[in-house]
Every structure is written in C-alpha cells, then in structure tokens.
Symmetry: C2
Subunit: 523 residues, 2 copies
C-alpha cells in the first residue's frame, strides 16, 4: 500500500513532512531532518563497479576513523598514525619555508608564522612515512663525480667541476651574468619523482636555483625560484619565488623541496580566490637551472625524502628554542572563547610534547646527537611552570597536574593536547639516558595519574568533550566533533599499549562505541 | 511519485528498511528504528474531539515535564511541585500503616519497611495539596454533641454518649460482644468523600472499627477492619485488616484513613497477579461499625484531610529519629551497581533534607511546636559526618563538600538527592530561630558553593548524568533518564528563585533545551 503524507510536529515547536504506513503502524522521517537534528551522516550509494547493484543508504553515525595500533607503541618508531598525515597540503599551511624547510602556518594569523605544533607534526609525519612507505626512488642527476649531466652553458657563463678538499668530493662551480638567458641548465622530462634535493652555496644575493615544472593537464609551466633572499613566498604570474634567507649567502645548504607542494602553494598565493588544484601525477620537471655565482653538488630527484624533512624540522627546534624558558613560543595571539586572550609568546604543552617527540627521535636516529637531547631536555621546563608564570602547568581542583595545550586563565584542560604532551614525555623517557629520562618519566607518571583521575570528566555518555571549559567557565560543554573524538579514541588505544590499567582500554572501547551510536545506559 | 524501498545500512553493522524519494533526493527512516536508536518518543494523534481532524505525528524528544516555579520559593509554602505527587498510589507503596499513618515501602524489600524519604514525600505532597486544592468538604457524622446519628445497636450491645471532662466534649462509649452481628453501626450511602477521620480509643484487643465500602462498578463490597493489633495489612477474601499497633490499646488515637487507598492496597495484597484497579468515583461507603469495647468521637467523611496526613508523618519523624546520630535510618540493604552495598541502618542526605523540610513546616504551621524544631535540628548532624563514619558527607576531590543521597564508598554524588538535601537546609534556615537557623544556613551555603562548582560535571551537552559514578568508579556515566533530567531542571529553576547566580538560571535553561533536542555545540 502506498504511504500517506503526515505532518510531524517536532517537540511542539515546528513541523516537518513525514510519511505514514498506516497498516504497518509506522511513520517514516526524512533523513534531511535527522542529519541536522542528530548530527548524523548518510548517503545513498550504488554498489558494483558499474553501479548496477541496488542503491543502498549508508547511515554513518560518525564519519571519523579509528586507527587501531599495530602493536606496542615504540618511541623510536611511527608516531601514532601520523604516517597518514600530510601537513604541508593543508590549506592553513602557507608554504614550506625554503630558509628553514618547515611549514609556515596561517591558522591564527594570515601573514604566516612558525607554529611549533605544526612543525612537529610535519616532522613526525615524515619520520613515520619514512618507516611505513617504500624506499624512495632516487635519481642522482649530478654529483660531479660518477653522475654527470650535459649542462647547457651559454657563452657568457661558466660551469666547472672542481675538487673540494674538505668534503673530499667533486662539486660544481658556476658563474653566470644576470638574466635568465645566461643560466646554466639541464633539460629533463621527469615525472612522479618530484622531491628535489641539492647541496648549494650561493655567493651573491642575485644568485638562484630555478626549476621549471609543467602541468601536463593545463600545458602551463611554472618557474620555481630559490633565491638567497629574506623572502618567504612571492608570486609573479608563472614565477614563484622562495627565499633561502639573507643568512644563506656563502654557506653550504642542503635543500630538499617537494616541487609539487612548492608549486601548489605558489598557485594559491597567486590566486587566493579560486586557485587551481594541481595533481601530482600531472607534473613534469622540465629543467633545472642555476644563475649568478655559486657551487652545487648532489642534485637528486626522488619520490620522497622524508628524513630530510624530518631533520630540517628537528634543526628548527634546536635553533628556535627560548633558552631561558625552554619553550618553543607561538608568536601569535590566540583567543579561546570565554578565556583571556593568549598574547604572542605563549607556549603550548602540545607543542612542547610534539617537539620533544621529534627531538627524542632525532637523538636516537642520529645515533646520539647531543644537540637534540639538550633541546628536548630543556623543553621539559615549561611542564613544571604554571601557565600564569609563562609555563603550561595547570592544576585541576588544586589536586591533579595538567599540561595545557593552551595555557589559558582559567585553565581549559584540552584533552588531546594533554595526551600529546604525555607522549613527548614518554618518548624522551624511553630514549634519553639517565637523569633526563628520569625527569621526563616523573612528569609522564604525574600526567598519567591525572589522566586516569580526570579522563571520565570528558565522557558525555554519547561522545566526549574537547576540554573542560564548562567547568572552568560555567558554560555549555564544548563537545568534541567526531574527528576530535576519534583522536581521543586513537590516543587511548595507543596509551593502552603502554599502560595496562584497564580504565584506559575500557574507556577507549566505550568511546569507540559512541562513534557507532552506542550510548551509555540511562537509569 | 511513489516512494521506493531502499536498504539502509546502519553504521555498516546491520540493515533496516527505509523508503526513498529519488526525485526529491530524500530518504525516509522508520520511526520504530529512531525510537530505539536515539531514545526519542512519538505517537500519531488525531485532533478534534471526534477525531475528525487530520492525523498528526507528535515527535517528543522527551516525555518529561518541566515545572515552572510560580514565584520565589517559600519554605512555608508548597514544596517544589509536590502538590502533583500522589505517593500513596504508587505501586511500591504497600499501604498506609494504620498504626503510624505513613506509607510502607516495598521498593528495596518486599516485606515492606518505613522509608524516610518516601514518608517525607508523602508529608510534603499533602502539605502542598492542602495549599493548592480547594477546601475539602467535611461531613461530620457523629460528634456526640450537635451531630448525632441513629446507631443500629443490637440487643446484646450498648452505646452511650457521655461527657469527657478532660476533653470538655461528649464522646460515644460502646460495648458489644464478639461477632460482627453484635456491632453497633450506621448505614450510609456516601460517595466521593472517602477520607474517614475518627478519634478512637479501644479497650480490648478484640475491639475494632469496620467500614464497609461498595464498588458500584463490580457490585462487590469490602469490609475494612481497623484492629488494635500488631499487624500491617492482611486480607481474607473481602475482609481487609489494618492493625493500629499493639500499643494502641487504651490510648486515644486520631485516625485519618483514605478508604480508597486502604481498599486498593488490600485488593492488591489479595491478588498480586492481576489486582482489580478500583476507581475512586465508583466507591460508596455503606456503613461504619464498632465492635468490642471502646470510645469514639468526631467521625467525619471528607474529600481530603491533607494536614492530618502531613502531621501523621511529622509525628513519625519525631518518634523515629536515632537520637544519637540524628538520622532517620533506612532499615534495608541498598545495592548500587559497582559500589559496596549499604547495610541496613544507612542514612540518606535526601531523607534527612526531606524530613527537615517536613519538620520545618510542621514547626512553623503548628505555631512553634518545639518537638518538630528539635528533631529538625538534630537531623542536621549527619550532614557533618562523613559517610564512612555513618553520616552522609562526602568531599569531591578533597575540595567540595557533598551531601550524599546514598552514602556509598566511594562517593556517588547523586545530584537530585543533594539538591533536596539543600532544600531541607534552606527550609530550616528560613523558619528556625537563631542558632539552629545559622547552623542550617552554614550547611546550606557550603552545599550551594559545592553545587555551583560541580554542577557542570553533570552536563553531558545533550542531557545530564544522574550521579558521578563514572568519576568514582571509572565506568560509563549513569545518564539520567528524562524524568530525572526534568527533576534536575525543576530543581535548578526553583533554586534560581532564591539564588541570583546566573550559573543556576543559565544552566537550567540549557538543560531545559536538552529536553527539546537542543544539544550543546561541538567544536
Ligand atoms: Ca660530489
Ligand atoms: Ca464530641
């Protein structure tokens, strides 16, 4: 029997159109209403490769994904499931600084700034990808030794392979006039392997490296310029300029650039309204050229060079730490609704923890480079200083110590940031020697104690809250959207591999169930 | 266009049958699924007195009811919205004890016991009804003075009106042999006014008062016997026996009985499987009879006698207080899932608070009867004693004092019971003189401070939790079902009339919104 129309009064407040099957004593409610009312997802799909199977409606309580740990968490191994992260492609990453080799964020300030948490995620993603991805293909284009190419050298220019006594290898010396027609260059038709690596020393500030890349889809080509200049990113039509920093003159630099990322960020910069989205597989490297006066060696194009990115970031943390406080400061204002604004210079426990996770891995992977260990150790300091005194420490109900992702007044107790701050401590405890390990271990134990006592404060019976601002400010709970909730679950699943307290594993399981609509019971 | 059938996969776990309107790009989900999945309610109604209007589906996020306070809460007035309570009709009330005039609970022990919280609710309901209902109709049947009836007096029996010097009024003296045929009696045909009141003194333990009541619907009549015996309730076919207590002999007792309740509870006792539900409007009092040796005066039948019930309960609290601890003890085991079992003799902050609310009103209403004040004052003691030491006091995170409805180990922090315990303190603070008012006021202020600091712990963003067992035990939150959630809302709305902190009123409004599906925002 056909269904009848029936008006449905929602809580006596407003009406929607429903359908009724009077015989079956059933009322049917439109999903478009349910989607908004309950914040659930769903879509009609047709199965089979040809779409020949019957249409089906997929009701998804949550679209977020749970990542099951593959084994016991190893501080020398993959960081959580960060092998899935692609920090540099995010919209809120303006570009990868050519001077530093780390991402520049626009999340809270449009002009761009170095955001320690993001830089660390970039590092941890690349460290993890290095462990999980296939060994990259590496094309050595020119090393002035066994791999040499035919460089197109205009008359007024000069290129010579010379022996470098200190490096104990041959390098290329070049000298050209100003103007791109005088550049020395090689022609290529390289696809897929788009990560350029080169050892480079520029002598004058009008010297540069230029890479020409073709978008085979649009037939449009772009010039990526890497200059010895104090410049982040600048675009003029098809020319995209990255600065290597004013301090880069007459210094050997090992530069690793993902040309796809550099191109895409340049395109966005040049057309903020509707930037073209470039597919990696459409790109082809047409040429590499040098201009001005300088030296180079070891030009490669690879599918990836994750460790290079990782170490670029590790170096950033070594060189950008406040030596007095041990903090990696955030140079932007941060306003959390209801809290006093954080002024530029604030420190995040999440940033500290992430940085320590990076540095602990760098210390271990480098075979014991003490610079990384020292920076990591100094990075513990803010964990012991209250937020009001410039640190990241809070205390819940005068009882439990908490490391604050945002050192707000009053405290905000963001859960996921706290757990990341604990992972940093765990990583250092597991990799550092003696006293530093013990210091990190003590802070970790203190935090885990708080976590176990406070974890259930975040449990709403059908999801989690992102922080405890409702308790600090007396306002509505700031519920975690599903992807943050999934982060909570993923973090607990990981912690359960290193802490056998059943509270962790049981809570993780229950919270996972919430993602499938399995609410806690009511009385 | 007709709707098509479409399979709907719920979270990739199981499938249900939905309907699809392909043209409108809409999928319709059966409400029978939504009811269970989201715990919402709904029903088809047809409007108009004749059912002639179009059918309509009423979606109800919650079936519970919010009670808006009519004005500032007055400790001398109605207790919350308890004028709507009908404690004695509840299934878990076995009967009203004829010895005490208060309900006997079977909630946690089938044989029946005195449950202070329930007795107080009974008292507060009647106190409130007395203020909100119409003045009752009172039929004075016999006062041996201006109202006299023709009593049917068998030959072997005797009834005389005599002057009682001490009472300064005439009373009836009666003497009959054993056997109901010798009883002195009056015939009546009284409907509607079913609350019997009498001053009675029985001299021998074979003496009794018997009331015959007809169910005009079934044409069946019942004899309600009130005996001078240690007996709660006993039934033999149509004879229902209530005991006035062994100690009732040779003592004047003022007895107030709701004959409808006494009859209904007797019927349930006689047929537990499928007891007849008797309508009040179907009942007719056919006769009142006395047997044995005794005296009586002031027989009345009224529509109600709320104050009599109220004072019966107030007296119960005066006579059933543990003089050492100040507690009204619960003589039953109480097991809360996950907590150590409470052993018989435990005290409830809710019971204490409710009792104090009763006694404060009795003190005020009686014009200052010190017995009520003393009992109320002594009832404060358990508020200062930790649960582990026999009191009801807990401390949250070593910081905030809490009065426990259930003095569990670890603490359970039941919210609604705590707020009721505060109302008792407020009532005593408002009605008692000097030092006692100050003591109650201090405990109230301490509790309100905790409430404000802890209130948001119960806020799940879409409802409330009933207690904090998730924090104490590390388990799933014990979500409040909608009627408990409504109680939370009602309590906050009431508190907002006596405490101007916006936290109370704002939280009440938000929690009210949850009942209409208005969730807190996610980030
Ligand atoms: Ca070389
Ligand atoms: Ca009289």
């Amino acid at each position: 029997s056909p269904l009848q129309d029936i008006e449905c009064a929602i809580n006596q407040e407003y009406s929607i159109h429903c359908k009724r099957d009077e015989n079956a004593n059933e009322v049917y409610v439109p999903f478009s209403f349910l989607r908004q009312y309950f914040d659930v997802s769903g879509a009609v799909t047709t199965g089979g490769s040809s779409g020949s199977e019957a249409a089906k409606f997929n009701w998804m309580h949550s679209n977020a994904k749970v990542n099951l740990p593959k084994g016991k968490y190893d501080p020398r191994g993959v960081f959580m499931y960060f092998e899935n992260y692609n920090v540099e492609v995010r919209d809120r990453v303006k570009c990868i600084s050519a001077a530093e080799g780390v991402p520049v964020s626009t999340q809270w300030e449009k002009r761009g700034y170095f955001y320690p948490t993001q830089i660390a995620q970039f590092a941890l993603a690349h460290y993890s990808k290095n462990l999980t991805e296939q060994t990259p293909r590496i094309h050595i284009l020119e090393d002035a030794d066994s791999n040499q190419m035919e460089w197109n050298t205009p008359k007024t220019s000069n290129m010579t392979r010379i022996w470098h006594h200190k490096f104990n290898t041959s390098i290329v010396q070049f000298e050209t006039t100003i103007g791109y027609e005088s550049a020395i260059s090689i022609q290529l038709n390289q696809t897929q392997d788009l990560v350029l690596s080169v050892d480079l020393l520029l002598v004058t500030n009008s010297s540069s490296l230029m890479v020409t890349v073709l978008n085979r889809d649009t037939k449009h080509s772009y010039n990526l310029h890497y200059l010895a200049a104090e410049l982040l990113l600048s675009v003029q039509e098809s020319n995209i300029y990255y600065g290597l920093g004013a301090g880069s003159l007459n210094k050997w630099r090992h530069i690793t650039r993902d040309l796809h990322i550099d191109l895409q960020k340049g395109i966005v910069m040049g057309d903020k309204r509707s930037p073209l989205k470039v597919r990696r597989s459409d790109l082809e490297v047409l040429s590499i050229a040098f201009l001005g006066i300088g030296f180079y060696d070891n030009i490669t194009l690879s599918t990836s060079d994750h460790l290079a990115h990782f170490y670029d970031a590790a170096e950033w943390f070594v060189h950008n730490q406040d030596m007095k406080t041990g903090g990696w400061t955030n140079p932007v204002r941060r306003s959390l609704n209801g809290f006093a604004e954080l002024r530029p210079g604030w420190i995040s426990a999440m940033g500290q923890g992430h940085a320590i996770s990076v540095l602990a891995r760098a210390y271990w992977h480098s075979g014991g480079d003490m610079r990384y260990l020292k920076a990591a150790s100094l990075g513990l300091q803010p964990y012991r200083i209250y937020s009001r005194d410039g640190g990241v420490l809070a205390q819940f109900m005068d009882k439990y110590y908490w490391y604050e992702e945002y050192p707000t007044t009053p405290a905000s107790y963001v859960l996921n940031g706290f757990i990341y701050s604990l992972l940093g401590l765990y990583d250092l405890n597991s990799t550092a020697p003696g006293k530093i390990a013990r210091e990190a271990g003590k802070l970790f134990a203190q935090g885990m104690h708080s976590l176990k006592k406070m974890l259930l404060l975040y449990d709403t019976g059908s999801g989690t809250s992102y922080d405890l601002r409702h308790l600090s400010l007396g306002v509505a709970p700031n519920l975690a959207r599903w992807d943050y909730h999934a982060t909570h679950v993923n973090q607990l699943l990981l912690l359960a591999t290193i802490d056998s307290d059943p509270l962790i594993a049981q809570t993780a399981e229950r919270w996972k169930g919430y993602m499938f609509g399995k609410r806690a019971k009511h009385n």
